[in-house]
Amino acid sequence: MTDFFNMGGYAFFVWTSYGLAFVIFVANIIAPIQRKAAIIRQLKRRQRRGETT
């Protein structure tokens, strides 16, 4: 197991690459979820005020 995390001495390079990929993937998933929630919130507020635009 230690061997696995050590990656033959290249641990920093390998795990930084995989870690960055993970961060970028998660950010790309969260962005549209937050965007949709913000849009729905805004449109609901407009509906309550009875606006049409």
């Binding site: 696995f4 990656m7 033959g8 001495g9 290249y10 390079f13 390998v14 930084t16 690459s17 995989y18 960055l20 990929a21 970028i24 993937f25 950010a27 790309n28 998933i29 962005a31 549209p32 979820i33 965007r35 949709k36 849009i39 729905i40 449109l43 609901k44 407009r46 509906q47 049409t52 635009t53």
Partner: protein
């Protein structure tokens, strides 16, 4: 078949069709990623020259492929929007840019992280690396244009023209390793005479490439649905969708 695509171009139909598709696409993407990672990190053998460091390839190469694939798709969608004035094509083009930029960034950074231990340098002004960096700037240009122009039609037109002009960079990236004497290695998978990579490394690479492609489709559809809600906020189906949420 054509009738289906025709209906899909209608915002309301697209929204509800992709709404049903998304959970399946997400599940497929996640499972392909997990299987791909298992192959990439556990099943594939270490490289005879590079040891374990070559495992960066399973992130770097799919990310670089996606950076070019998304760019071409964005330019084609932009052209379709320019010629036939299909709103959905504009939306696909505009929302592809940030995803494409993040894959380009990932390819560049993982390239540096692989270059340092193998070449002894984080960065060299080699033709392959430089043309990929230009690709990142093209993406940033498209994003900036889309954000700077308020009228969605004008924004789509301007960014489509920029994207189409920038397509010239795609063959330059692909052939840079042949045209110039680069430090970056030549093509291994997409080349005449078939892939020069052992099957035990090719399978995880292709799995990761499939996972990245599915991820792009998944995120793109989520973003496109958001933009449809924004643009169509006065239409009846959006009002009903908001109430039911």
């Amino acid at each position: 078949m054509w009738a289906f695509f025709h209906r899909l171009a209608s915002p309301r139909y697209f929204y509800f069709f992709t709404g049903r598709l998304l959970p399946w696409l997400g599940a497929l993407c996640l499972s392909t990623t997990l299987v791909g990672l298992y192959y990439a990190l556990f099943l594939s053998p270490p490289d005879y020259q590079q040891g374990e460091s070559y495992r960066i390839m399973y992130i770097h190469v799919p990310a670089a492929w996606m950076s070019m694939f998304i760019y071409v798709l964005m330019a084609v969608a932009g052209a379709i929007g320019l010629i036939w004035k299909i709103k959905l094509a504009d939306i696909i083009a505009a929302n592809s840019a940030p995803i494409g930029a993040s894959f380009t960034f990932l390819a560049l950074v993982t390239g540096a992280l692989w270059g340092k231990p193998m070449w002894g340098a984080w960065w060299v002004w080699d033709a392959r690396l430089t043309s990929e960096l230009i690709l990142l700037f093209l993406y940033l240009g498209v994003i900036a244009l889309n954000n700077a122009i308020t009228d969605p039609r004008n924004a789509a037109r301007a960014s489509a023209v920029l994207a189409l002009v920038g397509v010239v960079n795609i063959p330059i990236i692909h052939y840079s390793v042949q045209w110039w004497n680069t430090l970056h290695q030549g093509s291994t998978v997409i080349k005449a005479g078939g892939p020069a990579i052992h099957i035990s490394m090719l399978i995880p690479l292709l799995l990761m490439a499939a996972a990245f492609k599915l991820f792009y489709g998944w995120v793109l559809l989520m973003q496109a649905r958001c933009e449809l809600l924004e643009r169509e906020h006065n239409s009846r189906w959006v009002q009903e969708e908001v109430l039911s949420d």
